[in-house]
Each structure stands twice: as C-alpha cells, then as structure tokens.
Symmetry: C2
Subunit: 341 residues, 2 copies
DNA sequence: TAGGTTGTGCGAAACGTTTCGACCACCGTA
DNA sequence: TACGGTGGTCGAAACGTTTCGCACAACCTA
C-alpha cells in the first residue's frame, strides 16, 4: 500500500505539500506540483478513503435504504438502485446497499451512527413515512425516491402521476373511448398508504373528469385471480367500460385470462393499459401491451444527484417529478361499435 | 458524535481499556467491563467504522461488481444483489454496489486501491474472464457468482447446470416425450463465452443422451421474433419434437406466438419449459409456464457468505453448485398421440 | 522473605489523511 | 537600511480507533 508519505519522499517535499498539490487545495508552485503528480503516478498512488474520511468527515459514500423484498420486488424497484449507483459513480461517490431490517428506525440509527455514509437515499416512501422526520432531526442529509404526503423542503424525485394519468386518459380518449376503469395496486398496499397507489387513484380520477370521461376507480386486485374476478365484476356493473388501465402486472394476467374466457379479444373488445410496468414485462404479453413505463433508472439517478448536490453545498430544495413514458403497444384501439354509450 | 474517549471518561477508565472491554479483545475485570458497557449504552456510542478500518485494515465492506445493464438486466441478476446484501448485513458486513465502467480492470484497480473494501464479489462471470486472475494477483480476496472455465481453488457459487438439465429432462421424459429441443440464450451471448449459455448447452445435451431422449440443441434465438422463426424452423426440420426448453424469456414469447399461429395449443401440442427465469415471470404467461427457476438470491447469499468466511480465516475453497428449482406449471403434459416416433 | 506468576489497567504509538499556524526567502517600498 | 507583504513550504496536531509494551498490585511458592 503506497501512501502519501511515499509520494512525498519521492518528490522531495513534505507530506502536507504533497496533499495540497494533489488536491489543489491551496497554491503550490507549478514545478513542485508537477513533481508530486509525477511521483504519484509512478507509484500508482491512491488516496486511502478511510483516512481521508476520518479526517474530513466526508466519505463520499451514500446509502440506499431498500426495503426487504416483501411481497413483490419488481424490476422497477431494482432500477432505482442501478440508476442511483451509476449516477453516484459518475460523480465520484459510492453507493451502499442497505437492506432494511424489521426495525427501519433502528437500522437507520445504526447506519448513520457509524460515520460511514454522508447521506441516505430513501425509497419506497409511504405517505406517512416516519423516516424522513427522523433523518431531518438527526441532521443526516437525505433525499427520497417517492415522497411523503407533505414533503416540505425535502429533496425528492418522484413519478409525475398527474401527467401520467393525463397522458393515459388522453391516449384512450383520443381513440374514442368514453368510459375508463382503473385497477389500482392491491388493497393492502393502498391501505398501507403507499404513495403511488394513493396518488394514482386521485390523479386518474381527476384526469378522467377533466377529459370528460366516465370513470370507475374502486378496484384494487392484488393477484391474477383477484384481477380476473375484478374484471368480471366490472363488466357486470359497468358493461359500458371499454378501456381499462391496470397498475399491477399480476392483476393484468388475470384480466387477460378473464377477457379470453368471455370470448373477447384485446384490443378489439377491450383496450388494456399497463401502468407502472416496464416495457420488458409488457413484451411478455400477447398482444404486446400498451404501457406507462416508470422512469425508474432516471428517478434513481436524480435521487442520487440531488443528494450529492445537497452534500456539496446547499441550494434550494430540489423536487423533481418525471412522468411515465407511454409506450403504445397492440392492446389499445378504438372501442367497438355497439357500446358507444 | 460520541467517541470512545467519551465513553472512557464516563466509565473512569483509559481509552484502551474501554476498547478492550467493548470488543472483548483481552481480559477486563467483570466490574470494569460492565461499567464501560453501561457508559457506552447511555451515550449511545457507535464505533466509528472509518477509524476502526484505518487501524485494523478491515472495513467489513464488500463490493459487488455489477456489469453495466447492457442488453437485458433481469430480475434474476438483481436478486444476486439483494441476496448478497442481506447475507452481508446479517453477518455485520456492508455491501457496496459498484457499477462496472467501460474498463472493468481499471475499475477494479481503482476500487481495490482505495482501501475501502475488504473483498470483492464478482458476478456475470465469463468462462475466460480475466478479472479473477487480476484479483488473485493483487491479493484481493474475492468470490464469484458463476465461474470461469477452470475455477481452480477460487470460491464460487453457481447454478448446477448438470442437475438442472437432468431435472428438466426427467420431467419431460416422465411425461412420455421422446424428443426434446433446447433454445439457448442469444448467439451473441453464447459467443461471448457466457458461462450459463455454454454450460446449459453441454449439460442439456448430456442429460438428454443419458436419458435416451433424441435432442436438438443448436438454436440460439435472442428475441421474440427470432424465437418465433426458430420454432418454425424447428418444426420443419424436426416435426417429431414434442417438448421444448427455452432459456430466454423473450424467445419464449415468440415461440408461444408461433405455436398459436400454427393453430396449436400448449400444452396439448407442445410442452414448453422456461429455463432460468423467475416464477414471477412465468406467471405472466398463459398458460402458466413450467419453469426452472434459478436460485438467484441463494447464490447471492452464498457468494457473500463464502467471501466473508474467506476473510475471517482460510479454510479450503468453497465451491457450491445449486440446482434450479423445477416449478411445474400448466405448460407441460404428455405428448399428443400421433407423433410417437 | 525473595522471586516469580497472574490479573488488570494505563499510556503511547500507529493507521493515512487534512488542516492550520509558523517560517523563510524574496521583493517592493518607505 | 529597515520593514511589511507575499508566495511557497514545512511540521505538528487532529480525526477515532486498535495494539502493544509496560507498570503495578496481589498472590502463590520455595
């Protein structure tokens, strides 16, 4: 392990001068600096991050707190991690993957007490999440992927549900549909105040109203079976629904099966949209489903970047909303004739 | 930040004694130890990992080197990460997510030079991968998820392709099939010496032969379209094939579509197996596909654990093979009558 | 009673940085 | 000639641990 002392000796300067020369932290004569830099290069010198962190109180390590892979842990969630890791890496930071234990608060206390990380990246944020408050009080810099009910002046990057809902509604309205139904995430998830579930519910309803579409939004199937049952009940209670947006991959499977059982076809008899699912998943279906793809990696990148910005110096809080990308597949088409309400 | 010095003062002992008491690194009088522990508890003392690491040369941080999400980055790969992170966490270690840049060697050099990590976890290992050699020469402890052609005495955890192929073959043979085809990963992946592609090819062929099944193994479609075309060519050249194992999700989609175009049904006219895909994905299909699910999280856990074992002390190399789990779905059935060869 | 052994605790050094006050030579100016 | 400023460098302290040699008392044994 070659240390700064070796570099200094080889360049015939004091350790402190070598440090200053390499970090350009204070003026050093041009010739000296060159000598030091050459010595460092020749020795393949790498500053020891631990020593540096110990002294400067800054480790350039970020922690991504990710929840236990409880129910379903999708590709989507994982892309937060890879996006954040990439952005961090590009900016000279490292990303620590911290699985959340049974007691998230204790986990946080532990993690931040170690002096190992400069900041924390939160994901899977609930509307009434208590972690942000804890972090604020502890004075630990952090940012969120997702957001609480009232994020105040906390940095966050989240999906723009309003724009996403508008895009979805505009898409089906543009095809001529007059009545839209929306299947939310599972009832449990909704009850747990999971942000996307709550926000999507509100925004889809609002967007439908604004566009003058009739709307049904009170279904929250959490599985393929529940999805199939929900679809049958939907058709019974609202036979005039011609377009359906589903936010749960598995529920969509059930819907598709139920559609087939009924002798119907997609998109001729029903326009089906998949919300918050990756195009990779949408391609698994036949026909290929029209999808509102969440900008997961992008959100991860943004979250990491704004946290790093915050660490560097403090500007105003950054709060970014990014809409889902509408990927039109083969599951959307104008409604069939007979049902025009 | 409360440091060991504070604890020592409050407990009326020297810093070194406090350290010894807390770490039980050398005998300390029972009464003293209790006093120290109580002081530490009252102050909420957390040892500073940086200082500890600087001194002891051990940070208890592992790096997971994960490749850029080039082509497709599946759920499977990501579960390595979460599995490894969990296992590490349970053993008091942390996991650093290190995206691999364009130059993996340089990245490695950089990462290990920093003194930040105790060891490295490699994934996506190619048969002729050069990273293991580099790490061996650098004296950096590491383990692999996957393995090179000749892993020598390096720790690794990998899929047991032989057992997996035997299980798959036994499953279809048990149903009465006489001829099996296998669609490998894409030709590019195969050509790049990606371990799973090469090993699966060899082991499926061997298992089929051993079981006395006729076998076709030279298809490597990399997409839905290619999968469909491959299936059509397969039926043309080998009309007596009644069972097909596919190792690429997207290719499977193409196969299913081609089967439908032909007016056939699954499983009545074709038994279809999905290899190396998660049950979550398999459920997306209709009918639900029989799957050989890779033990991804398990491999991640094993990889982390054996690396930590290696760091603690050195036993013999650990080399673990774990077979895929056969999840029988609705896509496998006895062959239809007419084709019995 | 002298010498050795054991149990317990202390102080100082070390890990590799960064930071900060001090120092020195040199120059321009009064 | 003396003096303040300045650009460049140095040495020492500090960050929070662990480790190691040493000291001291008490106790046992010959």
């Amino acid at each position: 392990m070659t240390s700064l002392r070796h570099v200094a000796e080889r360049a015939q300067v004091a350790v402190s001068t070598a440090s200053a020369a390499l970090n350009r932290t204070r003026p050093v004569a041009e010739a000296t600096r060159r000598r030091v830099e050459q010595a460092a290069a020749e020795l393949g010198y790498r500053p020891n991050l631990l020593a540096r962190g110990l002294q400067s109180k800054r480790t350039r390590i970020l922690a991504l707190l990710f929840p236990a892979p409880h129910s379903g842990f999708g590709l989507t969630e994982m892309q937060f991690a890879t996006g954040a890791a990439e952005a961090a890496s590009e900016l000279g930071y490292h990303l620590l993957l911290s699985p959340e234990s049974a007691d998230p608060m204790e986990e946080l206390r532990h993690l931040t007490g170690l002096g190992l990380v400069d900041g924390v990246l939160l994901m899977e944020v609930r509307l009434d999440d208590e972690r942000p408050e804890f972090l604020s009080e502890s004075g630990v810099p952090f940012s969120m992927i997702g957001r609480t009910r009232d994020p105040g002046s906390i940095d966050y990057a989240d999906i723009d549900f309003a724009a996403t809902a508008r895009d979805a509604v505009a898409h089906v309205a543009g095809l001529g549909h007059r009545k839209l139904a929306f299947f939310n995430l599972s009832g449990d998830t909704y009850a747990a105040q999971y942000g996307p579930a709550i926000r999507a519910a509100a925004e889809f309803a609002a967007a439908a109203e604004e566009a003058g579409l009739a709307y049904v939004g009170d279904f929250r199937p959490g599985s393929a079976e529940a999805g199939g049952r929900a679809f049958e009940r939907l058709m019974q209670e609202h036979p005039d629904v011609t377009a359906l947006a589903v936010m749960d991959d598995h529920a969509a499977v059930g819907v598709i099966a139920a559609v087939a059982r009924r002798g119907w076809r997609i998109p001729e008899d029903l326009t089906l949209l998949l919300v918050l699912s990756s195009a990779r998943v949408a391609e698994m279906f036949h026909p290929r489903l029209t999808t509102l793809e969440p900008p997961s990696a992008e959100l991860g990148r943004l979250g990491a970047r704004m946290l790093i910005d915050r660490l560097q110096g403090d500007g105003p809080p950054q709060q970014r909303l990014v809409p889902c990308r509408l990927v039109v597949g083969d599951s959307s088409a104008p409604p069939r004739e007979g049902v025009m309400a």
